[in-house]
Symmetry: C2
Subunit: 322 residues, 2 copies
Amino acid sequence: MSRPAATHVSRVGVLGTGTIGGAWALHFLRMGMDVVAYDPGPQSKEKLLAMVDHIWPTMEKLGLRPGASRDRLSFVDSLEALATQVEVIQESTPEVLDAKRALFAQLDKLAPAEVVIISSTSGFAMSDMTTDVSGHPERFVVGHPFNPPYLVPFCEVCGGKQTSQDVVDWTTDFYEAVEKKVAKMTQELPGFIGNRLQEALWREALHMVKNKECSVEDIDKAIAYGPGLRWAIMGHCLTYHLGGGQGGMAHLLDHFEESLEAPWTRLKAPKLTPELKKDMVDGCLSQANGASINDLIQERDDCLIRIMQTLEEYRQEHGIKR
Amino acid sequence: MSRPAATHVSRVGVLGTGTIGGAWALHFLRMGMDVVAYDPGPQSKEKLLAMVDHIWPTMEKLGLRPGASRDRLSFVDSLEALATQVEVIQESTPEVLDAKRALFAQLDKLAPAEVVIISSTSGFAMSDMTTDVSGHPERFVVGHPFNPPYLVPFCEVCGGKQTSQDVVDWTTDFYEAVEKKVAKMTQELPGFIGNRLQEALWREALHMVKNKECSVEDIDKAIAYGPGLRWAIMGHCLTYHLGGGQGGMAHLLDHFEESLEAPWTRLKAPKLTPELKKDMVDGCLSQANGASINDLIQERDDCLIRIMQTLEEYRQEHGIKR
């Protein structure tokens, strides 16, 4: 048997069916695939069925792919049964390094060599999890989702030292084929990308609360009614590209270099070298893809209004005051 | 003359009419107020009128208050004329400390004592800007908006050492009366709140690009299709409250204490003391306002779908690929 094309996977194994694994099962079901689930925990089947019951209406709201059905979920009662019935495995077991090492060593012996094994880990490098894999470490790769994976599109794909580039590429293509937005990483970075960014913000927030500089409510208000409103539209860098006026990111970096020296967070900034400036500017221009600053401002403003109005409607419908 | 009730301001002075000052003028016009503008720069009147022309349709989309009209914008040609015709002044001149000091000293002599003077500064503490104010430093206060202030609701109100609590309270009430979401600060913190949070994220992003750990595109994808999607809904802390499962923030802090030690960002975390834990948990419960974890999950998921769908529609309508 050979590995299917990344765009033609029809049968996915979900290993571990807690919050994250269950969410993956829902996502793959919505994408019109067969999902085979295995979790050795007590009543795992009942719990997953209850989760599918609860969340399926949300999947319907989001839109099902042709052929998608919750009836395409099945359960098996052994790792071997899972490993031999599926084209790819998404592993989402508890974050315990030794347990993952033992699991991967066993899984490697059971699953045919062409089956790609993707770990949802948010904490471990694949190189550290495959230390006991003797057969085919090249088909193990991290595919880290954000909660809840049945909704949030972003995933980070990151291979270990022994992972083949083919597997990294295949996994990226597979995720993109199921509507994920993927960052394909070239090195094993602790916290990957998304968690590093939100962890920096989170730690600054914890410092501020600890020092009584502001309240938890202030932090959430600052994000939800401030920068957080803009971040769903075009991320942080492209948002700042607009903040630089017609000069974009280049102007912003020249103009606000001083603020990088200011004690505006406890994190020290890197030195703004000409190379870093060029990388930031080029990255913004490449994303802008020909759109002028005015085009981007129009997009930001139109989308801000849509987001604010849809959230305001929801809050009014549900009597939410925050 | 006495200061009007914060909820009954009808005539606002806008001092400095660049990107931020002009945006404030638009916001106050939309709120149904008279706006008197002054900016000594070349062609400032023409530039502001062009900005109002360009942005007014956006104000109409957002919804005008009864009586709101762009015709209620007028210009004066001196600081004195501005200072003597309005009930409150929003200052948004360039971020140059000496210039603000001189301006505030002069403004204090011209404006009646009851007129509150609010500075849009993102960088300076009010205590540093009123060093040359001899008359009424108690009526000077920072009211820091986020770009663009005609759309983004969040503002930080922060008095200096000489600012009266009355003025801090009045400014908070005034902003809330014009649909702003306000954090009323109790100390002068460099970067205030919102910029500290986004600056931490921004500096981590700059480090990552500098070290070739990821691309600018990866960062924007990580935010816009990852945590950024959730932040508009309920901020960072309450989002994490959900991440802790049924145990909420309390469970999350116990469970993820280890990750605070991990090198997931270059910023070191504070020690998670029992007091800090309690403050984080209480802050989340207070915001949840009786809503269960399941209620909040439903809210997050429903709102995520609305945000994703509205953004996807917009991108499709406008052929935006990002």
